[in-house]
């Protein structure tokens, strides 16, 4: 019910924030939308001495096209992602993922940066962005570096971010040619849920003939971090997404995932549903790619 005591700083620029982070200790937490951090603090799972809010730093909440990429700032909220025509048209899997988060009240605050840096295995924007080939920009006092999103998370709640680094942008290459993406999730209730299993895929199809040229498939809540289903993806390349290919992909995904039993779902079920959602995600991604073709 009650938050523990902490110091709060509200830097007005990225440099100011990075300096604070550099001077800080391991007991520093970053506040973006607060929907993860404050809950964790109330439950006693996190107890930072210092909380650094990014909210008053301008320029971190944009969605723009630049150099064949879509660049999204870390403070963009889930609601903003859902409402962006650019995201819905070009990166539908990300729109699906953002819309899957909890409920509108949470989506109005929860940020993309928070969802990614919190690094929960169930994060709804992670598999879509990974399937879309996203790269994250990490900024520190000594400069920036880029990391493929699938390399950002190293375990539940763990990332490669140094204590004096912040995620300052997510860059997604504009899908080329006849590309389509989608994200499907399994949940019990229709809202306010933590995803039991989520599968995102992006496929690029031949302009004529419809065979898959490349595919990326990622699944959430089936491993300590969102998992690339590389074997499953490799299995659909060179084929058209007919029912036989989709069946095989589903079976492959069921084998490739590594779920555990937990409060929200049993491992055998997660394995089973991974197969179902992989099939559905690929089918929908293929359908959307087909629309682009036409």
């Amino acid at each position: 019910m009650v938050l523990p005591r902490f110091d709060l700083l509200e830097p007005r620029s990225l440099d100011e924030a990075l300096n604070i982070m550099a001077a800080g200790t391991a007991g520093t937490a970053v506040l973006a939308g607060g929907t993860d951090l404050l809950v964790a603090m109330k439950k006693g799972l996190k107890n930072p001495n210092l909380v650094v809010s990014l909210q008053r730093i301008p320029g971190l909440d944009g969605i723009r096209e630049a150099n064949d990429h879509i660049v999204i700032g870390p403070l963009v909220t889930m609601s903003q992602l859902c409402r962006s025509a650019l995201i819905r048209d070009r990166l539908p899997a990300l729109a699906d993922g953002a819309a899957a988060v909890a409920a509108p009240l949470i989506r109005n605050r929860a940020t993309l940066g928070g969802n990614l840096c919190n690094a929960r295995p169930c994060a709804d924007t992670a598999p879509p962005l990974m399937a879309l080939g996203a790269v994250v920009v990490l900024s520190g006092p000594s400069g920036t570096r880029k990391v493929a999103l699938e390399d950002l998370m190293t375990g539940p709640g763990e990332t490669v971010l140094a204590v004096d680094e912040l995620l300052t942008a997510v860059e997604i290459p504009l899908p080329r040619g006849a590309s389509g993406s989608s994200y499907f999730k399994m949940i019990k209730r229709q809202a306010l849920e933590i995803t039991i299993v989520g599968v995102a895929s992006q496929v690029r199809l031949e302009q004529s003939g419809g065979k898959v040229l490349d595919a990326r498939i990622f699944a959430s809540s089936v491993a300590p971090t969102p998992l690339m289903l590389s074997r499953t993806a490799a299995g659909v390349v060179g084929r058209s997404l007919d029912s036989a290919t989709l069946e095989a992909a589903g079976a492959a995904a069921s084998k490739e995932v590594r779920p555990i039993d937990d409060l929200r779902g049993e491992a055998w079920y997660r394995r089973h549903v991974s197969g179902v959602l992989t099939r559905r995600s690929l089918a929908e991604a293929g359908r959307r790619a087909g629309e682009v073709r036409r």
Binding site: M1, V2, K188, R189, A191, L192, Y269
Partner: protein, 792 residues
């Protein structure tokens, strides 16, 4: 054209304006100058002896006013039923569940109070624990309470007719089991209370409670304060559903600390503590066999049930009876045998929750009816119609259906939902439709403690200035609408506008009322309200008759104006108006109506008689048979309900979406149609939640794993389908204006309608709740591999 002016309408709730503006005050909104904040220390372990408690460090923390344990609280046993007083304010010898209350602190802030809790040192000697009914009933199991042999706190053995003999006459016998889990009330408002003592020693507790009367009694008894020196009043309450119907430790703690410190003490449970306090749905394992004659008549029911209720008895002695007693209807049933066992275990205690012990029993029964129908090749609704009881009949366990619109409800949902047509065509992939019925008491026939007390009284007082009326009642408005119901009945009887009736309720100082549980308020409190209003009306008309030189029977009020009985000679009331106007020189709103107004009449009545006060009361007649436990299940009336649910099951993921529920409920007479529908909808939503999502989960040490609203899942607006509700009115002779219950009868059909629809969609019977996607997939896989078990 309604025969009534106020009742039978869709009048707006009288408390809605306060609620939509945020002006309605709930318990945590209340504050008193100088108040302290209390927090409770809970046991971290499920079963342990308390060797030592040292509160010295906690007491020394700056800002702490008081720390209490069993030493200060005493060990007067209390509970819900006097036959099972097995709780004390704090544990003194043992803790019996992870969450049990050991000590409490009052401090300047909630934060200091919780910090102080961590400074209380308790030495526990852990004991082996029993964490479910099976473990509790195993040979040699450790006892949760010495007094409950074999960890059985109550058991029932009933046999009506001859079930053994009946087996021989049955053409079809269907058997099955249903397991459910502990569930939670999950009201949106956590419990909260504010206690204070005045300088003359009167203790007042303002609390989010359904039952001020029972709380008052328990406080007085456990704390040793004379009953008349204890006042319990409720502010607005954010839902109760049963768990708030008895006195909780947090209420006793707030009062104890207020008595000791002399300061107001406020306590609000965290959401986690709501789960630890629990007092919600028991965990049931039902096994039943239903025998049907070749003609399709329900012949016998053989029923065995074990229900686990956690660490204390709470309502459990009634729960185990409710687990069967309401299966005697709404169908004819010639033979019924029941063996029921209510166990204790080292888990949070269970009490009464919407529908009490009857909900899962009804669920299994209605799925057996469905199976019998299929085996006999008969339509499931038709089979029920063949067996429904009619008004005036009694069940085999002597419950009298003084009104019963069960046939009408079934026919209404059958027709409205398009059942016949939908069942006759092939279902779309994964789509199914299922039906079920149920019924419930309109108030328990007997109070929880042995007494001849009136179940409720009402005092209705006319404003001495004239024009308005206030209804004073101990009844608990918890959202179900009883304040509005009392006001509407009063306005109807008096013949005045609803706007001129005020209600002050939920206060033990105002009158006796057993509270909002067992769906009693409309029938019982409504009866008393009607009587009080008639009493007021009689007094006013008596005065008028004397003044006007006519008979009181010639007079009445309608729309706030005096009217004459058709055929009566007109009267000259000019002198009365003149007297009124003489008293109101300078007023700009003096009456100019063509008839004498109630405002004037009530003022005149005061001038002649003094304060006009009417009283009403209700106590059911002696009900029930002469067999042991006959009392439970008795009621002056029974509401009944039928529902048809349509579902889509995703056969690949196992997810169930309920697409529509068509429900019909016989409430006798709808005092307020909108509120009756609202209660039907609320019942359906709790039923849907309990069918598909709700389950309190425990770890291997008896600790609640999901004490929050993220992992204890109640339906959201996207989970609830369109709800089609039909009101049936059978005109209950024992109810005011023919009204009886709707609050709990409406939950009875929901779970089985959904289960039957799932079977219709998938061909699998799920016999464990909640029906999770895992259970569906496991059952479908079993079926596909031709396993001999066709359900999980």
């Amino acid at each position: 054209m309604s025969e009534y002016d106020v009742i039978g309408s869709r009048a707006a709730r009288i408390d809605a304006p306060d609620k939509v503006t945020g002006r309605a005050l709930f318990a945590d909104d209340l504050n008193k100058t100088g108040q302290l904040y209390a927090a409770i220390l809970h046991s971290p372990v499920a079963h342990a002896r308390i060797k030592r408690i040292d509160v010295s460090r906690a007491k020394a923390l700056p800002g702490v006013s008081d720390v209490v344990t069993c030493r200060e609280a005493g060990t007067v046993p209390f509970g819900v039923s006097p036959a099972r007083y097995d709780e004390t304010i704090f544990c003194h010898d043992r803790v019996r569940y992870a969450g049990d209350e050991v000590a409490a602190v009052a401090a300047q802030s909630y934060e200091i109070a919780t910090q102080a809790l961590e400074l209380i040192d308790v030495d526990y000697e852990e004991l082996p624990a029993v964490l479910n009914a099976e473990q509790a009933m195993a040979d040699g199991a450790p006892l949760v309470h010495e007094r409950y042999e074999g960890n059985i706190c109550s058991q029932v053995h009933h046999h009506f007719g001859d079930v053994e003999q009946a087996h021989e006459q049955a053409a079809v016998i269907v058997s099955g089991t249903l397991r459910s889990k502990m569930q939670n009330g999950a009201f949106i408002e956590p419990q909260s209370a504010l206690a204070y003592v005045d300088l003359r020693g009167r203790l007042t507790l303002e609390s989010s409670t359904q039952a001020p009367h029972y709380v008052q009694r328990t406080l007085a008894m456990a704390l040793g304060v004379p009953l008349h020196q204890v006042r319990v009043k409720k502010p607005y309450v954010g839902g109760g559903f049963g768990p708030k119907a008895s006195c909780g430790t947090y209420e006793l703690v707030a009062c104890l600390l207020a008595l000791r410190t002399g300061r107001p003490v406020k306590i609000t449970l965290s959401r986690e503590e709501v789960f630890l306090h629990a007092r919600a749905r028991h965990e049931f394992t039902h096994s039943m066999s239903l025998g049907v004659t070749p003609e399709g008549e329900f012949l016998f029911l053989d029923h065995h049930c074990v229900l686990d209720g956690g660490a204390y008895a709470s309502f459990g002695i009634a729960t185990v009876y409710y687990a069967n007693s309401l299966l005697g209807g709404p169908y004819h049933l010639k033979n019924m045998r029941f063996d029921g066992y209510r166990t204790v275990s080292n888990r949070p205690a269970c009490g009464a929750q919407r529908g009490h012990g009857a909900v899962h029993a009804r669920a299994l029964f209605e799925t057996l009816v469905d199976r019998a129908a299929r085996e006999m090749g008969v339509d499931a609704v038709e089979l029920r119609l063949r067996n429904v009881m009619e008004t005036g009949e009694s069940t085999i366990n002597e419950l009298n259906m003084s009104s019963l619109g069960m046939r009408e409800c079934l026919e209404a949902v059958r027709d409205q939902s398009g059942w016949v047509e939908k069942r006759s065509r092939p279902r779309a992939h994964g789509h199914g439709i299922g039906a079920a019925c149920g019924f419930f008491v309109s108030g328990a026939g007997y109070p929880i403690y042995r007494s001849k007390t009136y179940h409720c009284t009402i005092v209705t007082k006319v404003d001495e200035v004239g024009g308005g009326v206030v209804v004073l009642s101990g009844a608990a408005e918890i959202g179900q609408g009883c304040d509005t119901m009392m006001a509407m009945i009063t306005a109807e009887v008096l013949g005045i506008d609803l706007a001129d009736v005020r209600v002050r309720s939920g206060d033990s100082d105002l009158s006796v009322d057993l509270g909002a549980y067992s769906s009693r308020t409309t029938l019982m409190t409504g009866h008393a309200a009607r009587e009080a209003a008639l009493h007021v009306k009689a007094q006013i008309l008596e005065v008028l008759a004397a003044e006007l030189g006519c008979l009181a029977d010639d007079l009445g009020f309608r729309g706030g104006l005096l009217v004459m009985r058709p055929g009566a000679a007109p009267v000259d009331w000019a002198a009365l108006r003149k007297e009124f106007l003489r008293e109101h020189v300078g007023f700009t709103d003096n009456p100019e109506d063509e008839a004498l107004t109630f405002r004037e009449a009530s003022r005149i009545a005061f001038l002649k008689k003094g304060s006009i006060v009417g009283t009403g009361s209700y106590r059911p007649p002696a009900l029930g048979g002469s067999y042991k436990g006959a009392a439970v299940g008795t009621s002056p009336a029974y509401g009944c309900s039928a529902q048809i649910a349509e579902v889509d099951v995703d056969l690949e993921t196992g997810q169930v979406r309920v697409r529509k529920i068509t429900g019909a409920h016989d409430c006798g007479f709808a005092i307020n149609k909108t509120q009756v529908e609202g209660q039907m909808h609320g019942s359906m939503s709790m039923g849907l939640g309990e069918a598909l999502f709700e389950e309190v989960q425990f770890d291997g040490q008896g600790r609640v794993l999901n004490p929050n609203l993220a992992d204890y899942k109640i339906p959201t607006a996207l989970d609830m389908p369109e709800l089609d509700s039909i009101i049936v009115e059978s005109h209950e002779p024992n109810g005011p204006f023919g009204a009886k219950e709707v609050g709990e009868g409406g939950i009875m059909p929901t779970i089985p309608a959904i289960l039957n629809a799932i079977y219709d969609a998938t061909g699998v019977r799920i016999n464990e709740l909640p029906v999770t996607p895992e259970r569906i997939i496991r059952a479908l896989k079993s079926k596909a591999t031709g396993s001999s078990r066709s359900s999980t």
